[in-house]
């Protein structure tokens, strides 16, 4: 039938993406923000299902929707606004937070690399894992820069967020850490935006410290991962 070829157009790709987002967001709200239904996950499942059902190749779809990635640039710049908003919270315990940011960002990246490497991951996979603990727009940009796979980077960021919010409650009870500032900061550092939305559910203070950690870790990782990758490449 004439007209059906429209399923191969950028317009159709955009309609699928927006519709998937609406449905995913609605389901996430209805489920009271159930971690596994995070819009990025359920939306991705909906898109993958639609493509499979209609027999559309993923590379073709991605080509058609790729221009949306352009918006990740201004989103990254926009993160400066919440970071500036949280600045006053830093002053009280600035030094411990900064030390933890550097040590924690290095630990998040290093532990992932050692674990993956010891289980036989290739260089490309390793490069895509370096940004697992930072917020996705920065992760995609950095990963592209150092030669990783954007898709693997996004998957690792999302899965990291889920593991973080599923485990923190129990973990920090065991470690006897109940200070909202520490709770939020660690969650934001290890589990970025997904962790931050969970921290806001605990309290405003936890949420604010989580956003702060998200911005700091993102910045530190974005600065040092490309430097470290260049250095290793030169060895």
């Amino acid at each position: 039938m004439a007209g059906l070829e429209l399923i191969h157009s950028p317009l159709f790709a955009l309609v699928v993406t927006l519709a998937a987002f609406q449905i995913a967001f609605w389901a996430y709200q209805r489920s009271q923000r159930f971690a596994l239904l995070h819009p990025t996950i359920s939306g991705a499942v909906l898109i993958a299902g639609t493509l499979t059902a209609l027999g559309i190749e993923y590379p073709e779809f991605y080509q058609n929707i790729h221009w949306l990635n352009f918006l990740l640039g201004p989103v990254t710049v926009a993160l400066a606004v919440p970071l500036y908003r949280q600045l006053h919270l830093l002053r009280d315990i600035a030094t411990p937070l900064l030390i933890t940011t550097f040590a924690g960002a290095a630990f998040a990246c290093g532990s992932a690399l050692i674990l993956a490497w010891s289980l036989g991951a290739t260089k490309t996979t390793l490069l895509s894992l370096t940004t697992k603990s930072i917020t996705t727009p920065i992760a995609i940009v950095v990963t592209d820069d150092i030669g990783g796979i954007a898709t693997v980077a996004v998957a690792s960021v999302i899965l990291t967020g889920i593991v973080g919010i599923v485990s923190i409650e129990w973990l920090f009870k065991k470690l006897n850490i109940q200070d909202d500032r520490l709770w939020g900061f660690c969650l934001g550092l290890a589990a970025h935006a997904i962790g931050t939305s969970r921290a806001f559910e605990r309290s405003t203070v936890a949420g604010a410290f989580s956003s702060l950690a998200l911005c700091l870790t993102g910045t530190v990782t974005a600065i040092f991962v490309p430097l470290a990758a260049n250095w290793f490449a030169a060895l």
Binding site: G43, I99, S111, I223
Partner: protein, 116 residues
């Protein structure tokens, strides 16, 4: 709101330019973010338009990530042998990171209280 977008794109453009001009190891967007952060500190407040534009963009962030995330299902056979390391790195790595950061921050803030 458009004025806000203009500000964001303007800072990104400056960031991209500096990255190319000086061959910096940081992505241009990240340089743009740092520059905007410094500019906000100097100005001492966030313009309403910029606040609005940034919020709108940050709100649709999950949507921007869906298309790349869907690619996970289409990585194919070439990636099959990578999954064990990938899963281990993420689950164990993230839990270890939470423990490490929690204990470190607890230790650092406790010492500070003693110093006072």
């Amino acid at each position: 709101m458009l004025a806000g977008f203009l500000t964001l794109l303007g800072f990104q453009l400056i960031g991209e330019f500096l990255q190319r001009a000086f061959d910096l190891p940081l992505p241009g967007q990240v340089i743009g973010m740092l520059l905007l952060f410094i500019a906000l500190m100097i100005r001492g407040s966030v313009p309403a338009q910029l606040e609005k534009g940034s919020q709108h963009l940050i709100d649709i962030l999950p949507m921007l990530l869906m298309a790349p995330a869907a690619g996970v299902f289409f990585l194919g056979a070439g990636f099959a042998d990578q999954w064990p390391g990938f899963i281990a790195a993420i689950s164990a790595g993230t839990i270890l990171t939470l423990i490490f950061c929690g204990l470190l921050l607890k230790f650092l803030t406790r010492r500070k209280r003693v110093n006072r």
